[in-house]
Symmetry: C3
Subunit: 347 residues, 3 copies
């Protein structure tokens, strides 16, 4: 599909710089863009690349547009405008009338499948599942009994949904994700073996959530593990039982959240973070990558831990010193006292 610069400007509420009739047929990055492509600069540090860019038009802020001679879509928020432009070129309207149920799918008789549901090959739908209109289940996925999936949910292939899960409208779940497996709950016994605590709760996921590949969200021991509307969860993430993630919080890959922790709305949690169980984190908290969170956070702000990689030999010397930190601190204290004594007595 092809658009003029003017058409894109109208569709994205942007203004035009240059040739409004310039024809655009796709989106490409600054370094790869060629004739017919629209590209974007979201960050002034890429300004240099802009000069050598071969795109037919570029999405820019007003200030960057001033120093650019070519065609531009000018917008306060170039990054969001870029996102909208990609969608304009690549969106495929789902035609519910074309929805199909593959003959190899195994669907329990008690399942309630609305019209306009697509079910791919080898999908297994267990007893009393409800799939609303526009739901699309990828090949090989499994939906456990009593699960309710609201309209327009998209499950990519090989997703596993355990029983009793609820998934809100328009949510997307990627391959390998496992929703509703047992939380890690065991009571110690006198002989030091473990007694399994049956996990009889469920997982409740809101609308417009996205869950990445190989992410696992455990069912509650009692009650529900809750993922609120608009939450974005990347790949390889683990969310423990009875956890609650507030609306529009985003969590990057490899982060682990232990059981019963409550995370507020609009938080941004980077990758490789580990958050202990039974904590409370308020709204609008940002946690940087690889942090270790072991106490509650009761004030919005940016929180961090972790130490950056360094030359191995230098690191080794410093890491050994870490194990002497308490002694070092005590020595400093002692030196301070000594110095005061010297000054008191002698100066």
């Amino acid at each position: 599909m092809t658009f003029t610069l003017e058409e894109l400007a109208n569709l994205t509420a942007s203004s035009i710089q240059g040739d409004k009739d310039c024809l655009l047929k796709g989106v490409a990055s600054l370094s790869n863009a060629g004739s017919g492509d629209v590209s974007f600069v979201g960050n002034t540090k890429y300004k240099k690349q802009l000069d050598s860019c071969e795109a037919s038009a570029v999405i820019l802020s007003a200030s960057l547009a001033k120093s650019y001679a070519g065609n531009a879509l000018v917008n306060d928020d170039p990054y969001l405008t870029f996102a909208k432009t990609v969608k304009i070129f690549h969106s495929v309207k789902t035609d519910i009338a074309l929805a199909k149920i593959h003959p190899s799918a195994s669907i329990a008789k008690s399942a309630n499948i609305e019209t306009g549901v697509s079910i791919s090959a080898n999908v297994v739908i267990d007893e009393n599942v409800t799939l609303k209109a526009g739901v699309n289940i990828g090949a090989g996925s499994y939906i456990g009994e009593n699960t309710l999936i609201e309209s327009n949910v998209l499950l990519y292939p090989n997703v596993t949904i355990y029983s009793d899960t609820k998934i809100g409208e328009g949510t997307i779940i990627h391959s390998g994700a496992v929703i509703g497996a047992d939380g890690f709950g065991f009571a110690p016994q006198k002989d030091k073996s473990w007694y399994k605590i049956l996990q009889v709760g469920n997982v409740v996921i809101g609308s417009d959530v996205e869950i990445g590949a190989s992410t696992t969200i455990d069912r509650a021991a009692l009650g529900s593990t809750i993922i609120e509307n608009g939450v974005k969860i990347d790949n390889q993430i683990q969310i423990g039982h009875n956890t609650k993630i507030g609306e529009h919080t985003a969590i990057a890959a490899g982060t682990l959240i232990a059981g019963s922790t409550k995370i507020g709305k609009y938080c941004q949690i980077a990758g490789a973070v580990a958050i202990a169980g039974h904590l409370n984190i308020v709204d609008n908290v940002i946690i940087t990558g690889k942090s270790m969170v072991i106490k509650s956070i009761d004030k919005a702000g940016v929180y961090s831990s972790g130490i950056a990689a360094d030359d191995n030999k230098k690191w080794r010397r410093n890491a050994i010193r870490f194990s002497q930190l308490d002694e070092m601190a005590k020595t400093i204290k002692h030196l301070e006292t000594e110095l005061i004594n010297i000054k008191d007595n002698k100066l």
Copy 2:
């Protein structure tokens, strides 16, 4: 199903406080419990919530029961009693007579399937697999050739078991788990490319083990990777080739154990821990969350590393200082010497 308080007391070897005929129909957390629910307090810090709890009965220690006016199941170990009570309400007896093999399952002719085995839709069972009575294989799971699965093992949907695996009685494996994939073994060649070391060992899992969703346990290069009886392994865990995990050790989510490491019995390893390869960790070791273990541990005890997240600006200042630690230590040493000199010469 409904029980009287007296019936529950008998089933859990607890004593009764209050109305022995009180009818109970389910288990709920302190904050969600209502009429007909039994709840529990395992920790005195939840004592306050107890006062406002609407449960019909609460599982309590003797000391907490004294200060509680309502019905109670009194037991030395309220947490274990709670676990048993959940099981009383929720256990479903597996009726082997009802076991079914779904017609869409692909089962090799050489497989030995005992009576009373359940095999769900789209399961694939390869050559010479043995499944003992009461085994239950979830939809879409794959069992590689020569695998032996003992009685009453439960595999949730979409589990992958590579060839030659052995799984002991009553073990539970959650969706997305991959047992027996190749260990990461490559010999460097002169041209700096890697020569694959065929991984010709297997994985041997004991009885009453639980393995979480998306956990991976690699087959041995030679010999066996061994998970002993009663081990509990959470989600998203990686266990390298030729590793051995001792009986009743529990490992929380996201922990990585590199190859050839031996871990003792009754250990508790928290989440997000990384344990290097070729180490030996004795029995009864506790490792706290996000620790980095790079040498063997030869004494039972609690081990930790990691630094807690802090205000970002404060962290940044301290993290920079980390890279100066060795210098700081040397300066302290120098100051000490100087001070001694001053004192020796002058005081």
Copy 3:
């Protein structure tokens, strides 16, 4: 299959010590080897075990062979020779003539399947997929549309390949891996909700790559995520969108690489490492386990961070001191100044 020591020497370009007619029927580790086994010592620290080894022959360096009385295959590179020997005993020649397509596989009519392709039970192959000769697809795997898989690629069961992926010759992908899921790209909106950036790029994987179980490699936002020839990627790894991994780089389990990072050739990245996005890491970089990499690395070498686990009480004291490091450094500075003052005035 059985080989004489002489045959193995010829096949591995090694020299012989002892009985060239010694019959060998398998490979075993030093501690498990018995009569008929060939074993190896790659590291002089295992020299002691060599004395009590019951193997019929051992793969050794010339220097170790001198002090060993038994039969030996002598080679400059015992580890690589061991790898080759395992392959000699265990390699199974793939007989393309025996390739089979299981009747339960769902294969789109537009797919282009060359002769000699094996497709197991319940595999789903979408529109316009090309599978070249010798490709072997494990049970339950899904191959998205327009994907091109070159000859002799092996996919273990339950692998998921999204659309438009390219996979080079001889590459191996383990179970649970997800290739080509959406990168984590969302533009913030004024109401603090997230606008999904459609991920319209793909993943391009070279030849002789190995990808571990449950590893996820995201498709590019625009353009391609690239894994070059000979790269070895362990289990539970996350590789973000638009990342590029250079030839023959090896990455151990649980490592996370954020989007748009470029990693050079011949790098060795240990497990549990987190690498931030938009970085550039040159060739021949080694990063040790659990490191946090937050800036580009422009010089070959060994890089590290992380602090080793210690006794919990000792760790707690030191970790608290970490939060005082900047103050400690300032105090040291102050003490230095004071001391200079004292010396200047008084000595």
